[in-house]
Amino acid sequence: MLRKTAKKTAVLLVSLLLISASATFSAPQKVKLTFWDENAGPNRTPYLQELLKRFNKANPSIEVEYVGLPWSSSKQKIDVAIAANSTPDVSGVSTNWVAEFALNGAILPLDPYFNKAPDKKQFAPVHIQAIRDLVPNKKLYELPNTFNANLFWYRPDWFKEAGLNPPATWEEFFDIVAKMTDKSKNRYGYSIRGGSGSVNNLEMLLYAYSGLTEYFDKKGKCTINHPLHVELLKKYVAIYGKYTPESDITNGYKEMVANFDNGIAAMIMHNIGSYGEHMQTLGPGKFAAAAFPVGKLGKRTAITALKGYVIYKGTKYPAESWKLVHFLASAESQSYWNQKIGQLPTRLDVMNEPWVSEAQHLKLMGDTFADKKSVALKNPQYLPDYNAILTRLDPAFQEVLLGKRPVEKFLNEWASAMEKAKAEYDKVFNKK
């Protein structure tokens, strides 16, 4: 009896093994990639998921698992994953994270794949170079698919009422801010970002005003405390509370954007990313974009922000990961994605598509960057401490707004923090 049972069990086991073995041989194993979206949310996730669906359809042997991360903590999550060696295969990134990730050896250089890509010339060389400049070895660690830049959002209906045009010079800017203020109507000419992210925002304004294009001069001195920046900041601080709401001192981007969308401020400085919110709240005709005036030194300096995709070193499937990254940055994907989220593509072929010139803010940005006077500021995103220094300075800027800290002192502190970070960086990478 016992023998019979043993025989039966053996036959069963062998047949099970055979079945599973044949299943293994007959069905090709699907490659499973994990993709982390660094800025998930209801206004973006459905479009990215649609792109991944298209990718899965075009590549049946690859399956992509989408994980959406909330923007506020996505960097922290990726940092922990890097420290614990548990990174995904691919993720979206802000370009200012790339230097840190690359220096930590967490992400792969994409050059072996990018150099062989048939469409590599379609990626705007200025963007590719900007990413290469982030690391001392000049390798390409990110493939950009979205490009964002700062501008003024203003109320064309109010401007028309007052017989004003968007500022063509920086003198006009301050003039308009004063003229558009009517405290009896709870209406202010401008809204300052004084809370989180304020110094980052201020940096853009300072260089736009001066027209300086280099963050460090030839001697390695930081240009942030340039006399023109002192001049601008003094004027800027003077409008706080007078032509701006006093609550601006705690403004993060959402409060600042809400001031504009609520009809409290006539003008704000933000990027093209808030287009969707203005459209939803104010509706067409009640908001428009204006480029920064040309700076005092004759250049229109702009800080651009790129978004793209990276492949992590821990991936078992670098070739398949590249396929995904390349697909997400392809002409078709960039066209779909950037139209949906209202931002600029990084490919020349997509920049020439009609939808770019049909949207006022995108056309304006396209034209502005095509202008010979426009130069992208080389801000030192390659410094691992760059973002931390800017964030650390936020409370100091609040003191400047309140008149508790002199403008010169603030800018000097900023400059010396950046110089120190650069000296450390140069020491490590023997750049001197």
């Binding site: 800025n39 949310g41 996730t45 909330p70 609520n262 808030s274």
Partner: protein
């Protein structure tokens, strides 16, 4: 005289209470108001104090398309299981700290207190590595373990206060009548301790329900996210969907709201009991 007394009471008690109530309830009212508005109306000036026209679309979208149904279930599973363990262990630890004399008792109390001084964020990477080795990343079990561990010391100390209030004589009487210690705990101490247990469970539940950073770090699968992670996702780098955010917040508020409505009487009883001899 009576009118004057009433007036005085009204001015000194009811009026300040009403003002505080308005102050406390306004954010709830505004969240509900926002959640019932169309997205285009939320920021419109002049602000609308009532949702007119009204829509339930934000709730439908949030629950079905964004997946709050799933996140709600995940949060509930994690919170309920964690609360079960927290309360069970807190009763046992609290009992041991109250009824037994052992070497290092004071030191243990001190160590329990010390755990409260270490922020959870500091331990993220080591915890992540431990859970990874246990194969618990992207598993709700990791959250149950983390929440139980981090909540236990505070709740055990809280429970110790409640147990101190239960006279030992009652237990002794039960044991005289033939109960062993466990029977005495379950049949005599626990029923008296009920308000304290409910107060502890309520605190533990709220902490687990609202926890964000562990839930984000240890879960790397969108379908296993909990409610706080989903709520954070409503605030993007460039945009915030206020309608969904408000609807999601209302959904997130429901369990604590219902729970507090039910356990309120125990809670007040439990809190005061704990506070006297805590």
């Amino acid at each position: 005289m009576k009118i004057e007394q009433r007036l005085r009471r009204c001015l000194s008690l009811h009026l300040p209470l009403s003002i505080i109530l308005i102050f406390v309830l306004f954010p709830f009212y505004w969240t509900l108001n926002t959640s019932l508005k169309f997205e285009r109306d939320i920021m419109k000036v002049p602000l609308k104090y009532l949702p007119n026209p009204m829509t339930f679309q934000n709730f439908i979208e949030t629950w079905n398309n964004i997946g709050f149904g799933r996140y709600f279930r995940n949060s509930l599973i994690v919170a309920l299981i964690a609360v079960f363990f927290i309360v069970t262990f807190a009763v046992l630890v609290g009992y041991a700290l109250t009824r037994f004399r052992f070497k290092g008792k004071q030191l243990m109390m001190f160590l329990l207190l010390c755990t409260q001084f270490v922020p959870g964020v500091m331990l993220l990477i080591p915890l992540f590595i431990i859970f990874k080795k246990l194969g618990l990343i992207s598993n709700l079990g990791s959250l149950v373990i983390a929440y139980t561990t981090f909540q236990l010391p505070f709740n055990a100390i809280l429970m110790r206060g409640f147990i101190q209030n239960v006279p030992y004589d009652i237990e002794e009487a039960a044991m005289m009548d033939g109960c062993n210690r466990l029977q005495a705990i379950f049949h005599v101490v626990l029923p008296i301790l009920l308000p304290g247990i409910i107060a502890t469970a309520a605190f533990a539940f709220i902490s687990c329900w609202n926890e964000f950073i562990f839930a984000l770090m240890f879960i790397s699968r969108s379908d296993l996210y909990t409610i706080p992670v989903a709520l954070h996702s409503m605030q993007g780098e460039y945009d915030i969907n206020y309608g969904y955010l408000a609807a999601g917040s209302i959904i997130a508020m429901i369990p604590p709201f219902l729970m507090f409505a039910y356990v309120q009487k125990y809670l007040v009883q439990g809190l005061s009991a704990g506070s006297v001899k805590g």
